[in-house]
C-alpha cells in the first residue's frame, strides 16, 4: 500500500512538472500570435493598418501581465476545466476543438495501434515458437516495412489504391455527400470505409516492431531452463507456449505498448496530413504554425495526461504480472 502511495505521489509530481513545461514551451517560441494571425489574413485580402489593434482587442491578449501571474491563472483555469479560447479558430473554445477532433484520432489511430499490437504479438509468438518455420521468413519482410518511412508508404498506397485503382477514398473521415454524422449504419459504415486505408498503413508500418520484439523475447525465454522442464514433464506444446513462454516474453512489449498508446495523439499528425483526416493531430499542426498558445497547451495536456496515465497503469500492472519486481532488495 505504501508502495502504491509512493508511486502515485511521484506521478503527481511528474504531472506538475510536465504541466509547467507545457506552460513555458509555447511562450518560448518566437513570434506573436497576433502578428501571425494578421499576416495570414493579409495573404487573402486587404488588411488595414488598424487591424492589429482590433485583433488584440478581440483576443484580449494582455502580455503586460507578469509571467507568474499568467502561470497562476493557467493552473487555476486547468483546475476548473477552462482550457481557454483558440486563436486559430477564434472564438471557439479549446475544449470544443478537442472534443470535435479527438474522437477521430483515438478511433482511428488508437484502434489501429491495438490491432497492430495484437497482430504483432501473435505473429511474434508463433515466429519465436516455431523457429525456422515459414513465419520466421515474415520477419525480414515486416521489419523492412517497419523501416519504411510511414508517410512514404502511405502516399504510395494512397496513390496506388486510391488514385490508380480507386479502391479506397482519397481523403476525409467519412462520405460527406451521402451520410449524416450520428449513430446510424450508413455513417458507421462510411467511417469504417474511410478509415480502412489509414488503418492499413499504420498496421503495416508498425506490426513489424511488435513482431520482432516479441519474437526475440520468445527465443530468449524458450532457452530458459524451466521451458525444458515443462517439455520434459510432457505438457502440451500449446499450453507451454501460452501459459509459460509468451507470458514471460510479452513483458517488455506491454511496457512499450502502453507508451505507444500515450503517443497516439502526437503520432497522428503525419497520418492526418496524408489522408486529410479530421483529427487532433492536424489541429495540433495548425496550432503550432499559428502560435496558438491555448490550443497547443490544451492538446499537450491531453498527450501529457494520457502518457502519464499509461505509464502509471504499466507500473501498477508490472507489479501484478511480474512478481519479481515486487520483491525489492
Amino acid at each position: 500500500m505504501r508502495y502504491l502511495a509512493w508511486k502515485i505521489g511521484f506521478y503527481v509530481i511528474a504531472l506538475w512538472a510536465a504541466l509547467t513545461l507545457n506552460f513555458f514551451i509555447p511562450r518560448w517560441m518566437p513570434g506573436d500570435p497576433v502578428d501571425i494571425l494578421i499576416a495570414k489574413l493579409a495573404q487573402h485580402g486587404p488588411v488595414a493598418p488598424a487591424t492589429r489593434r482590433s485583433i488584440e482587442a478581440l483576443l484580449g491578449t494582455d502580455s503586460s501581465q507578469p509571467l507568474w501571474q499568467q502561470y497562476a491563472q493557467y493552473l487555476h483555469n486547468l483546475a476548473t476545466g477552462n482550457l481557454g479560447v483558440s486563436v486559430t479558430f477564434f472564438p471557439s473554445s479549446v475544449g470544443q476543438i478537442i472534443a470535435q477532433t479527438l474522437p477521430w484520432t483515438i478511433g482511428l489511430i488508437g484502434l489501429a495501434t491495438v490491432i497492430s499490437f495484437v497482430l504483432g504479438i501473435g505473429l511474434g509468438t508463433a515466429a519465436g515458437w516455431k523457429r525456422g518455420s515459414w513465419i520466421d521468413n515474415l520477419i525480414p519482410v515486416t521489419t523492412m516495412l517497419q523501416s519504411v518511412p510511414y508517410f512514404w508508404l502511405a502516399l504510395i498506397l494512397l496513390f496506388v489504391l486510391g488514385s490508380t485503382f480507386s479502391l479506397f477514398p482519397l481523403n476525409g473521415g467519412y462520405d460527406v455527400y451521402g451520410t449524416t454524422p450520428g449513430w446510424n449504419s450508413g455513417f458507421i459504415g462510411s467511417v469504417a470505409y474511410y478509415g480502412a486505408l489509414p488503418a492499413l498503413t499504420i498496421v503495416l508500418s508498425s506490426v513489424g516492431g511488435w513482431m520482432l520484439g516479441m519474437r526475440n523475447m520468445m527465443v530468449s525465454t524458450l532457452s530458459e531452463d524451466y521451458m525444458v522442464t515443462a517439455e520434459a514433464k510432457g505438457l502440451r506444446p500449446l499450453r507451454i507456449m501460452r501459459r509459460y513462454a509468451s507470458r514471460n516474453a510479452v513483458l517488455p512489449s506491454i511496457s512499450g505498448f502502453a507508451i505507444s498508446l500515450g503517443f497516439v495523439v502526437a503520432g497522428s499528425i503525419v497520418t492526418e496530413a496524408v489522408f486529410s483526416y479530421p483529427g487532433i493531430g492536424s489541429a495540433l499542426l495548425q496550432a503550432v504554425t499559428s502560435n496558438d498558445y491555448a490550443l497547443m497547451q490544451g492538446i499537450f495536456l491531453i498527450i501529457t495526461v494520457s502518457v502519464l496515465a499509461a505509464n502509471l497503469l504499466v507500473d501498477l500492472l508490472y507489479t501484478v504480472i511480474d512478481p519479481r519486481t515486487r520483491a525489492r532488495a
Partner: protein
C-alpha cells in the same frame, strides 16, 4: 537460417558444430546468410554516404532540364528545378546517416545511464531517475524541436539530431529499467552479492551482458527511429530543410507532386534506401542476438525435438541398462 547438426545423443556434442562454423579467429559472429546480407547492404549504403559526395555532381545546381527521367547525363534523372537526383541522394544518405549515428550513440548512452544504473541502484536514485525519465517521456517532441531550433536561425542536421536524441532516450530507458528490475533479483546476481563482489562489478559483469541483446536492439531501434523521425519532421516541413537528408528529399519530391506526375525516380529512391538501411540493421540485429546468447543458437524447439525418444527407443534403452 542457421542449421545446426545435432545428433540425438547428448547436447554437449552440438556445441562442436557452431564452433566449426565460426569463420576465423577474432570474428565471433557466425556467418549466416542473414548477417551477410545485412552487412553487405549496410556497408554499401555507408559507402554511398562516405564516398558518394566526392564523385557526384553539385546537388544544388539548377538547370533547365526539369523533371527528366534517368538518362546518360543524369543517372537518376532530375528534380523539378533540374537538379541531379543521384547527387542529391548521395548527400542525403550522408545527412541521414549522420543523424542516425548521432542519435543512436547519444540516446543509447542516456537511456543506459538513466535506465540501468538507476534501476540497479534502487532506492532514491531509482525513484529520482524514474521520475526524470517519466517527465522527459511526457514532453511532446514536436514543439520541443521547434522551440530549440528557433534559437538557432539555420536548422542544421546536428541540431535536429541532438533534439531527436534528447526526446527519444526516455522510452528506451523505461524498457531497460523494467528488465534490470527483473534481473537484479535473479539467483546469480544474489549469488555474486553474497560472494562479496562490488556493486559496479556486478552491474558490469553479471547484469550488463544479459542486457546486451536488449541494448543492441534498442540501439537499432534508436537509429531507425532517428532516421524515420527526421523524415517525418521534414515531411511536415519542420526538419533541417536547408540540408540534404532522405527526409528533405522526400519533402521536396512530395511538394513537387513527383508521384502524381510520374517522376518515380525522384520519389522512390530515398524511401527505398531508407527501408533497405533499416532492414539491414535489423538483419545485423538478429545475428547479434544469436551470438551473445548461445542458447539462441541450438536450444531451439527443433533441436530439443531431436532429443525426444520414441517409446520403443526408451524401452530398448531401459532393457540395455538392466
Amino acid at each position: 537460417m542457421a542449421t545446426t547438426t545435432t545428433s540425438s545423443s547428448a547436447p554437449a556434442g552440438s556445441a562442436a558444430a557452431p564452433r566449426a562454423r565460426r569463420a576465423r579467429r577474432g570474428l565471433p559472429v557466425a556467418r549466416t546468410p542473414k548477417l551477410v546480407t545485412g552487412v553487405v547492404i549496410g556497408a554499401l549504403i555507408v559507402l554511398l554516404a562516405v564516398v558518394g559526395p566526392f564523385v557526384v555532381q553539385d546537388p544544388s545546381r539548377v538547370s533547365d532540364v526539369g523533371l527528366a527521367g534517368p538518362s546518360g547525363a543524369h543517372w537518376l534523372g532530375t528534380t523539378q528545378t533540374g537538379q541531379d537526383v543521384l547527387a542529391q541522394l548521395a548527400y542525403a544518405t550522408r545527412g541521414s546517416l549522420t543523424v542516425g549515428a548521432i542519435v543512436g550513440v547519444v540516446a543509447l548512452a542516456l537511456s543506459a545511464f538513466f535506465g540501468i544504473v538507476g534501476a540497479y541502484a534502487g532506492g532514491w536514485l531509482d525513484e529520482g531517475f524514474s521520475l526524470f525519465t517519466n517527465v522527459v517521456l511526457v514532453i511532446p517532441g514536436l514543439p520541443l524541436v521547434i522551440v530549440i531550433s528557433s534559437y538557432v536561425p539555420n536548422k542544421s542536421i546536428w541540431l535536429v539530431a541532438l533534439v531527436l536524441s534528447l526526446t527519444s532516450w526516455a522510452g528506451s530507458a523505461r524498457v531497460l529499467r523494467g528488465w534490470t528490475l527483473s534481473l537484479r533479483n535473479r539467483d546469480y546476481v544474489a549469488a555474486s552479492r553474497v560472494a562479496g563482489e562490488k556493486r559496479w562489478r556486478i552491474l558490469l559483469v553479471e547484469i550488463l551482458p544479459n542486457l546486451v541483446p536488449l541494448l543492441a536492439s534498442q540501439m537499432v531501434f534508436a537509429v531507425i527511429f532517428a532516421i524515420l523521425g527526421e523524415a517525418g519532421l521534414s515531411f511536415l516541413g519542420l526538419g533541417a530543410s536547408g540540408s540534404f537528408t532522405w527526409g528533405t528529399m522526400l519533402y521536396f519530391a512530395q511538394n513537387g507532386l513527383a508521384l502524381r506526375l510520374g517522376a518515380w525516380w525522384w520519389f522512390i529512391p530515398p524511401g527505398l534506401l531508407l527501408a533497405l538501411f533499416g532492414a539491414a540493421l535489423s538483419l545485423i540485429n538478429f545475428s547479434i542476438d544469436e551470438v551473445v546468447n548461445p542458447k539462441l543458437r541450438q536450444q531451439t524447439r527443433g533441436a530439443r525435438k531431436g532429443w525426444r525418444m520414441t517409446r520403443q527407443q526408451l524401452a530398448r534403452a531401459e532393457e540395455e541398462t538392466r
